[in-house]
């Protein structure tokens, strides 16, 4: 009874103001109160200032017409403020995604080149990295923009018609394969092909391990995938039947009354909370019984319960949230329904060459072909080269961190240097370079905001214009913060997921 020294008898317990447990909780609650108080004070200050200036804090500007025309994007004539921001966001994502892919490829090449025994390759990579890393990114972006607009030639009338490549100061245009309206039906076959390929791969690897004979799992898997893709090219009208599935789901979502969804979501929220708590308690259970719960454990249980109840409360008493969620789900389902149609025929991909058109007095680059405006060119090349320099250094560091014994052993086994790199060094280096590379991806995503200097209409640029025209600067800032937070958290959670999978399992 009194052998457990951590729970002293009543007369042995220290007074409240010296009680470690109480002090810990009090300190945390005080800090929380302080933070909340600070936020409240700032909020009141801001609304007070706005009221003194005679301005209001509202979100109406998102649904009102903006009158702005945007140079490029999904809505060049946005109908309201929200579409303006949507266009900006999509433009930002275009650069982020294509920049990440290009920067990774270039970065790995540069990093490995810097380690190469070939003197010229080594020197070129070093010079590239040293120059690019030491010039501010804004300067580089403006430089590439000026290269695109000042040095590229004009679009001329005698180029009118289809071309193979257009390089001009109004943009760079290349031939491209565009998806048509049967693309998604074909994509279903491609996805099926991926799944089939994966199972074929696993099967052949298992046979390889059992029998030791060459079964070429990679090649077989690839051929399976290609087979599905080719079959899908001709058989995709059948996949159009999926359209009925989407329609059915959308009909279900729209006919169930809102209250039904609210109850369902509230129940799911509570159930998830309970399930998490039970699993957590189970993880602390051992054959000897439940372990003593520490403060930290209680806090986590409390948090899970609170979140579950909060979720239930939100869904039950704020019907607009459920309604918007249901609308969103229905929107997505109907979107997919549109893409599928039983027995819809036609090639899934369309090859198009760039062309020059003459809509008025001035030759312009037409809409067929994939066009990169000078602003996009400037920002994309700028961020790609800049981030690739940093990624190159990270890769180099990672490769150097692999113990030298691995290289020597590989060479002793008779592996070529390229095989050594591909099969032994890079897989081990990957674990080391992943966190810093995730960092560089986040930097790239945020660096796209420099596009405002070269009139690339990404979310900061269009938001700035919108704030200026409507006077709603604070709301625009909040939207930027939330948007960049979502992008950054999304990117870092993906990177963290791979990080955890690569973590060394300790005994």
């Amino acid at each position: 009874m009194s052998t457990d020294l951590r729970t002293p008898r009543a007369e042995q317990r220290p007074p409240l103001w010296r009680n470690a447990t109480f002090l810990k909780w009090a300190a945390q609650l005080l800090v929380l109160a302080g933070l909340v108080g600070l936020a409240v004070i700032l909020g009141l200050q801001a609304s007070g200032n706005l009221a003194a200036q005679g301005r209001t804090f509202g979100w109406g500007f998102l649904s009102r017409p903006a009158g702005i025309q945007i140079g490029e994007g999904i809505f060049t004539f946005p109908a309201n403020g929200f579409q303006v921001l949507q266009t900006g966001a999509v433009n930002m994502l275009r650069i982020t995604v294509s920049g990440i892919i290009a920067a990774t490829v270039l970065g790995v090449v540069v990093g490995v080149s810097r380690l190469s025994a070939n003197w010229l390759l080594n020197r070129i990579a070093t010079v590239y990295i040293e120059i690019i890393r030491n010039i501010p990114l804004l300067v580089q972006i403006v430089f590439w923009f000026f290269v695109a607009t000042l040095t590229f030639p004009n679009v001329t009338v005698d180029q009118e018609g289809a071309q193979w490549l257009i390089v001009s100061n109004k943009g760079v245009s290349i031939p491209w394969l565009f998806p048509t309206d049967t693309f998604w039906q074909w994509a279903v076959f491609a996805v099926g092909g991926l799944i089939a390929a994966r199972s074929v791969y696993k099967q052949r690897v298992r046979r390889l391990e059992e029998t030791g004979s060459d079964t070429y799992p990679g090649r077989y898997a690839f051929l399976t995938f290609v087979g599905f893709v080719i079959v899908g090219w001709f058989a995709h009208p059948i996949a159009g039947a999926l359209g009925w599935v989407w329609q059915l789901l959308a009909a279900i979502v729209s006919t169930v009354p809102a209250l039904g969804w609210q109850l369902l979501l509230a129940a799911v929220s509570v159930y998830l909370g309970i399930r998490w708590i039970r699993r957590f308690l189970d993880s602390l259970r051992s054959p000897a019984g439940l372990a003593k719960l520490t403060d930290d454990d209680w806090f986590r249980i409390g948090l899970a319960a609170a979140l579950g109840l909060l979720g239930a409360f939100v869904f039950l008493f704020l019907p607009s949230i459920t309604a918007s969620l249901a609308d969103l789900v229905e929107f997505v389902l109907r979107f997919f329904d549109q893409k599928f149609d039983f027995l819809r025929t036609g090639n899934p991909l369309r090859f198009a060459r760039p062309d020059v058109v003459l809509p008025g007095r001035f030759p312009q680059i037409g809409t067929s072909g994939m066009t990169m405006t000078p602003a996009f060119f400037g920002v994309w090349i700028g961020v790609t080269l800049y981030t690739a320099a940093f990624i190159g250094e990270v890769v180099r560091g990672g490769v150097l961190a692999v113990p030298k014994g691995q290289t020597e052993a590989g060479l002793a086994l008779g592996l070529r240097r390229s095989q050594l790199l591909r099969m032994i060094i890079l897989p081990q280096a990957f674990r080391i370079i992943l966190p810093p590379i995730g960092n560089q991806y986040l930097n790239l995503a945020k660096n796209t905001s420099l596009g405002i200097a070269v009139a690339y209409p990404e979310i900061v640029a269009v938001g700035f214009t919108l704030a200026n025209q409507t006077g709603q600067a604070m709301q625009t800032f909040l939207i930027w913060i939330v948007f960049y937070l979502i992008i950054s958290l999304g990117l870092s959670s993906v990177v963290n997921y791979y990080n955890r999978r690569l973590a060394l399992v300790e005994r």
Binding site: G71, P359, N468, A473
Partner: protein, 371 residues
């Protein structure tokens, strides 16, 4: 343990000392990275101009210096000379205001603002007065929380194209169909041109930049087919650029009204009165023939009551407004009347008085009586 504590304490003291210094120089507020600092209340240096009760006029008078939001990229209206000083038609209004408030036309701190950043600069108190070729519109007057002074320059939006592309000063707006049009971001210009193009059924690609210098560079290289902004800016660019000979400004009737004038944060009427009457005083001085050369003679022997009152003589109202009695005398002496300012900055660019002449000369300037 004690040594670490002392080191921490001294580092903290150094940091606090650094944060408290008032190092303020003329800063250029341009692209987004800088803009994020404007909307928060400025720290060290500037006040939060008149929002916490009391009129902006009291704050400015107490400070002894006027914070003026100006343009640094528009020759004629607001730009920097070789020595790095701000000069221009709009800049002279700030100088006149400083002369009226403090008797010293150089008691001004200039803040170069881009079109997109200018309104938040006024609302956050970074600048007291915005004299940056800003158009008076309904939404700016109400939604954006500004008040406007008398229009100092009546302008209109026009386009500029190359004569080698087939444009002439008689060209119509419909001739820009299919063109790539470039202009400033965050201005009435971009709203007007999209509306006008929509109305005529034209399809244009609109690229908007923060810096008009980049717009001009793109126009010269051919990346932009047509440029659009206020007619006065186009004339000033055409006059100062070596390639300007090939450029034509059209249509001859501007596609919109752009009344340019000073602006300040609303609910500061006493400050606004000072701005308004400074502008009127400069125009009345031209009406009555008072110039910086003869203002002393006029003060000694005023030809009529209005001149006497304006220069601080019997019946003057300046002291009741909160400024010195000789406020407008200082304005005319140190800066000049409206015609002198116009001739100093805008006539060399080839701009004629046109709508900006006094009503008696067929223009739109109609200053209110000083009585």
């Amino acid at each position: 343990m004690k040594k670490r504590f002392m080191i921490t304490l001294s580092v903290l003291a150094l940091v606090l000392a650094a944060c408290g210094t008032e190092a303020e120089e003329t800063t250029t507020t341009t692209a987004a990275p800088d803009a994020t600092t404007e909307t928060t209340a400025p720290e060290g240096g500037g006040d939060t101009g008149g929002q916490t009760g009391g009129d902006l006029l009291d704050t400015v008078l107490a400070r002894g210096e006027l914070n003026c939001g100006a343009n640094e990229t528009l020759p004629g209206f607001g730009s920097k000379d070789e020595a790095g000083n701000f000069v221009g038609f709009d800049v002279d209004l700030c100088r006149a205001l400083a002369a009226a408030l403090f008797g010293d036309a150089d008691a001004v701190r200039y803040e170069a603002l881009t079109a997109a950043a200018r309104f938040e600069a006024v609302n956050s108190g970074l600048v007291d007065i915005l004299s940056r070729n800003t158009t008076w519109t309904q939404s700016r007057d109400t939604e954006l929380g500004l008040d406007f002074g008398p229009t100092t320059y009546y302008d209109g939006q026009q386009m500029m194209g190359r004569s080698s592309d087939g444009f002439s000063s008689g060209s119509a707006l419909s001739e820009i169909d299919g063109a790539v049009v470039c202009t400033n971001a965050g201005t009435t210009t971009e709203l007007n041109i999209s509306e006008a193009a929509n109305a005529l059924g034209l399809s244009i690609t609109l690229n908007t930049f923060e810096d008009f210098n980049i717009v001009t560079e793109n126009f010269k290289s051919g990346a932009c087919d047509v440029v659009t902004t206020d007619g006065s800016s186009l004339v000033s660019r055409k006059a100062t650029d070596p390639d300007g000979g090939d450029w034509v400004i059209f249509p001859s009737v501007p596609i919109s009204k752009e009344p340019l004038g000073p602006a300040w944060a609303q609910n500061n009427s006493r400050f606004g009165d000072v701005v308004t009457w400074t502008v009127f005083a400069m125009q009345i001085a031209e009406e009555q023939g008072v110039t910086s050369a003869n203002v002393d003679d006029m003060l000694a022997n005023p030809p009529n009551g209005e001149v006497a009152r304006m220069l601080g003589g019997e019946g003057e109202v300046q002291s009741a407004m909160g400024i010195p009695a000789d406020a407008f005398y200082q304005v005319i002496l140190q800066v000049g009347n409206y015609a002198e300012v116009f001739d100093r900055h805008l006539t060399p660019l080839g701009l004629e008085r046109g709508l900006n002449a006094l009503f008696a000369d067929g223009g739109l300037l109609y200053p209110m009586p000083i009585r």
